[in-house]
């Protein structure tokens, strides 16, 4: 086929195109992913027993803020990575901000506590649960983001995978905060951050393969 013919064909079938669709769908998808993950936590794990009183306490709010900010920053990145020509990689450093803030608070908390408590403050009641369950929960939003990414044009598939992994982990943390009984900053800084690392690694390894176009 000659290129001229291809151009005839393409221009003949041109239709009005909605350039806002991808953004709207991505935010809608993220909301759906959050809802689905919340349902998973409430139905499979159950909420922590003291949720009604704990919901407005600083540690639980900190978990919401941590998961929410990681998810929000990563989602902006994710959406940009689906649109060719938009610089996205430089924004990646923003994700370090909430992580740095949490780690800093954890160090401060440890410095104020006697050394004998450090281990208890860090390992809490159920660090294994957090480390296993958060990455598992993150698979639910990750699946939704993978479907979304296939509707875009990811020219940097590693970045798309990475940001989808971060966003999924952020959403999983938001939901898991309803269950997680451990309320110390050192616990959050260690296990939540590690869980984000696990989810992001998995997504960065798997998604680029699924997103060839």
């Amino acid at each position: 086929m000659q290129t001229e013919h291809l151009i005839s064909l393409l221009s003949a079938t041109g239709r009005p195109v909605d350039t806002g669709w991808l953004r709207r769908t991505a935010w809608l998808g993220a909301a759906a992913a959050l809802a689905a993950t919340l349902v998973l936590v409430v139905s499979l794990l159950g909420t922590r027993r003291d949720l009604a009183t704990a919901l407005t306490t600083l540690p639980v709010l900190a978990k919401f803020a941590f998961g929410g900010s990681v998810a929000a920053i990563a989602l902006v990145l994710f959406q940009r990575s689906l649109r060719p020509g938009l610089p996205a990689r430089p924004l990646l450093v923003l994700v370090a901000l909430p992580v740095a803030l949490v780690v800093l608070s954890a160090i401060l908390a440890l410095l104020q506590a006697p050394v004998e408590q450090w281990s208890a403050l860090t390992f809490g009641r159920n660090w294994r649960g957090c480390l296993v369950i958060v990455p598992l929960l993150a698979l639910c939003p990750l699946g939704i983001f993978a479907l979304l990414a296939r509707r875009g044009a990811p020219v940097d598939r590693r970045l798309t995978g990475l940001s989808a992994g971060l966003a999924s982990a952020g959403i999983a943390i938001l939901a898991y905060a309803l269950h997680c009984p451990d309320d110390t900053m050192p616990f959050m800084a260690t296990w939540y951050t590690l869980a984000i690392g696990i989810s992001t690694t998995i997504a960065t390894l798997i998604l680029p393969r699924l997103l060839r176009w």
Binding site: Q2, H5, L9, L10, S11, W213
Partner: protein, 189 residues
């Protein structure tokens, strides 16, 4: 022509195309196509491939990709940057699929900024034709008619006994299938 001049020239055309103006879309594809042809020939030559038909194949794949990715364009950003990013992605993918020179090609933006437009097309190889072979008979006939008549879908639809809307949907699906075929195929040479 500098990249800024190119942007000034094709941006209004592309925005009109996104609103459904087919004549503007054609102008956009012609101008960006010539520019991309120059860019792809230059880059392929640097990778040690100077066969113009290969550049034409990649160009066709890029044009098809641009068409199917129109909804990913962010209207506040430069359309040249959008097209270049897609062309570069398809070029790297092509080089990787065809074996040699996988990661060694320097993909600087300068090459795109400096590429001279080449309006003289070469004959493509058979890629797009092979991609069409997998389509349903009716879609193939439809595509042949539209492209040979210089782009009247209404007429081609009537000849194949479809409504114009159904014809457009069938062609769109066909183009998507062709793009998928090109992505999957490992060219042997």
């Amino acid at each position: 022509m500098s990249l800024e001049d190119l942007e000034t020239q094709i941006r209004p055309a592309f925005l009109a195309a996104l609103a459904g103006d087919n004549a503007a879309y054609r102008l956009f594809l012609d101008v960006i196509g010539a520019r991309l042809r120059g860019y792809l020939r230059h880059m392929l030559k640097r990778a040690g491939r100077s066969e113009p038909s290969e550049a034409e194949d990649v160009l066709q794949e890029v044009l098809l990709a641009l068409h199917l990715a129109r909804h990913t364009y962010e209207p506040s950003s430069p359309v040249t940057a959008w097209a270049h990013a897609i062309a570069r992605y398809k070029l790297v993918d092509h080089l990787r699929r065809t074996g040699r020179h996988s990661g060694h090609l320097p993909l600087d933006d300068e090459a795109f900024a400096l590429a001279a437009p080449e309006s003289q097309a070469s004959d493509a190889r058979m890629d797009l034709v092979r991609a069409m072979e997998g389509l349903p008979e009716r879609t193939r006939r439809l595509i042949d008619r539209v492209k040979l008549q210089g782009g009247s879908v209404a007429e081609a639809a009537r000849e194949t006994g479809m409504s114009e809307t159904a014809a457009k949907v069938a062609i769109h699906r066909g183009l998507k299938a062709m793009a998928r075929f090109l992505t999957r195929t490992r060219r042997s040479d």
